[in-house]
Amino acid sequence: MDIQNTIKQTVTENPVVLFMKGSAQFPQCGFSGRAVQILKACGVDKFVTVDVLADPEIRQGIKDYSSWPTIPQLYVNGEFVGGSDIMYEMYQSGELQTLLKPAGSDA
């Protein structure tokens, strides 16, 4: 399976997926760390993270997948939501909590 199909499968089979540098426990970049914190602050405890540093093919492939040049990238129910700036703005306005409620939060 090619990398674009692998990514598509990952984001459609899991309600909340964060492509990031490092892991949720040990983020390797401030922006990725911030993205994890925002998800947790939204009450989401079931989310999948993909460490792009572990696979150069995914690191490039995810940028092509959504024509988005930066990491982290958040996907909810298969849809690209944005990077950490957009996540933060949506968190501040409450939009992100609404979007995530049916997806991965127990709240």
């Binding site: 922006f31 988005w68 040049p69 930066t70 990077g83 700036d85 703005e89």
Partner: protein
Amino acid sequence: MVTAEQVQQYIAAGLTCDYLTVAGDGQHFEAVIVAAAFSGKNRVERHRLVYQALGDRMRAEIHALSMKTLSPEEWAQQQG
């Protein structure tokens, strides 16, 4: 190393801005961008316009760019 001034010039060259500031340390940059092109567009579309203006520089020279993107109307409200 890229300076904040250069990043500002790159953005301004590719996108007509009503207001634009860029601060940064050569690796991480923060920009506030007000452009008429943002009106009626969502956040993802706005960021894409900025990335488009930066082109290959976003991959090669700039490690990270944090941005606030506002339409002139939203900017006026914030100033209000």
